[in-house]
Symmetry: C2
C-alpha cells in the first residue's frame, strides 16, 4: 500500500445569471458528512465507470441536474487534511455555465440557487471553490466570449452586453462591445428573428455559431482596460 487512502471526489460549481446576479446551484446533501446542508453537487469518483474526472463531473451534473452538455471546464484541485472530516481528501473542481432558464424550468428539482456574494454556511471548503470559480469566470469574461454560455440559444446583443456587464460589474461602451463581438466572429443573426413586444425598435436575435459550442473566442485586449 503506497499511501493511506485519500478521499477522491469531484465537485461542480454550476453558475447562472438570475437578473443581474450570479448564482450558484446547490443541493441538499442526503448523507454524512454535513447531511442536510446545502453544498456543491459532487461525490466520489467511480473508478469502475468514470473514464476520467471530466467524465465523473459530467455524470454528476447529469445525475443531479439533468443537464447534458453545458460549458464545463476544470477549475482546479482542492486538497488537504483539513477540508473533509473523514480525512485527507482531494476534490477536483469543475465549473459549468448554464442559462438560468434551464435550472428554473425545472429539470432539476433538488437544486437551489444562491447568489454567489451571499454564501454562508457551506460545508468543506465549498465557499473557496465557488469564489475561485467566480474569479475565473470574471477573469475569462474580460477577454473572451465565455459569457455567451450564460445566455440561452437565441439572444440579442443588448442582452449579451447586459450579461457581460453583470459579470464584470461595470458598464461597457456599446460601440466597443459590438466591435468586439464582431471581431470574435462567433455569432450569427437568426434570419428574420427579432425580439419584439416593447415600444422600441426590435433587436436582432443571434445564436452561437456551431463551431463555438465548446470553444472560446479570445481577444488580446481586455474589456475595461482601466480596471
Amino acid at each position: 500500500m503506497p499511501q493511506k487512502t485519500i478521499i477522491c471526489t469531484v465537485d461542480v460549481v454550476l453558475l447562472c445569471l438570475r437578473g443581474s446576479t450570479l448564482h450558484v446551484a446547490l443541493w441538499r446533501r442526503d448523507r454524512p458528512p454535513f447531511e442536510g446542508s446545502l453544498a456543491l453537487p459532487g461525490g466520489y469518483i467511480h473508478s469502475e465507470e468514470d473514464v476520467d474526472t471530466l467524465d465523473a463531473a459530467t455524470r454528476m451534473l447529469r445525475a443531479k441536474t439533468g443537464l447534458e452538455s453545458p460549458y464545463l471546464e476544470q477549475l482546479g484541485t482542492f486538497s488537504g487534511a483539513g477540508r473533509d472530516p473523514r480525512g485527507w481528501s482531494i476534490s477536483i473542481a469543475y465549473y459549468a455555465l448554464v442559462p438560468v432558464e434551464l435550472i428554473e424550468a425545472d429539470q432539476a428539482p433538488g437544486l437551489i440557487l444562491m447568489p454567489v456574494d451571499q454564501l454562508k454556511g457551506l460545508p468543506f471548503d465549498h465557499k473557496d471553490i465557488v469564489l475561485a470559480a467566480v474569479q475565473r469566470l470574471r477573469n475569462k469574461s474580460s477577454y473572451s466570449s465565455l459569457p455567451v454560455h450564460l445566455c440561452g440559444e437565441r439572444f440579442t446583443l443588448p442582452r449579451l452586453q447586459a450579461v457581460y456587464e453583470a459579470i464584470l460589474g461595470e458598464p461597457i461602451n456599446k460601440v466597443s462591445f459590438r466591435r468586439k463581438m464582431d471581431e470574435f466572429d462567433m455569432l450569427e443573426p437568426v434570419e428574420g428573428a427579432f425580439e419584439t413586444g416593447r415600444a422600441n425598435r426590435p433587436a436582432q436575435l443571434y445564436r452561437l455559431k456551431a463551431a463555438y459550442r465548446q470553444s472560446l473566442s479570445v481577444t488580446p485586449r481586455a474589456f475595461l482596460a482601466g480596471s
Copy 2:
C-alpha cells in the same frame, strides 16, 4: 469503502530557458513502473506529512532538485484509467519556473534538461502535462510579468526582453516592451550595477521588487496583439 483505491500523485513540470529554448527538467525513475525512463519529478502524496498537494509538490521539488522557493503554481489535474499501468490514477500537476543556472550549477545532480519541443518517449501522459505547462506559460507571458521568474536575481532589460521573445516566439517592439515593464512597476534598478564587458554601452541591472516574488503584474492588453 467508498471506492476502489485511486492512485494519487503529484508531478512537477520544472521549466527553464537555456539559450532561447525552453527546457523541462526530467529525472530517471528509480522504481517501477517505467523504471529507468526519464519522467517528470513526482510521486505519491504522503497524507501523513503533506498538508495539501502544494505542500507535496514543494516537498518533491526540494527532494529532487534542492530548490526551495521557485515560482510554483497548480497547472491542473490529469486523471483516468489509462494513464498509469497500475490502475485508475490522478496526478495533480504543478509547474515551476527557475533560472537555468540553478539547475546547471548543479544543486540537482539527477536532473536532465530536455527541450520541450523534442519530447519523446515520456511515460504516463507526461508529454501532455509538459505541453499544457508550456501553453500556460506562453499564454500568461503574453499579458503578465511571469517570465521574470526565468531570469536570475539580477538581469538587464534587454535580457528580459529576449526571454519574453524566446517564450512568445516573436520579436517585441523595444519601446513598447519598456513602457510595459515600467507600467508593471515590478522592477527596480540595482543602484550603480551594470552589465559590462562588451563593446557597447553597459546595460542597467534590475531586480524584482520584493512584493512581486510570488505575485504577478498583469496588463489588460497582451503583448503581440496581432497573434
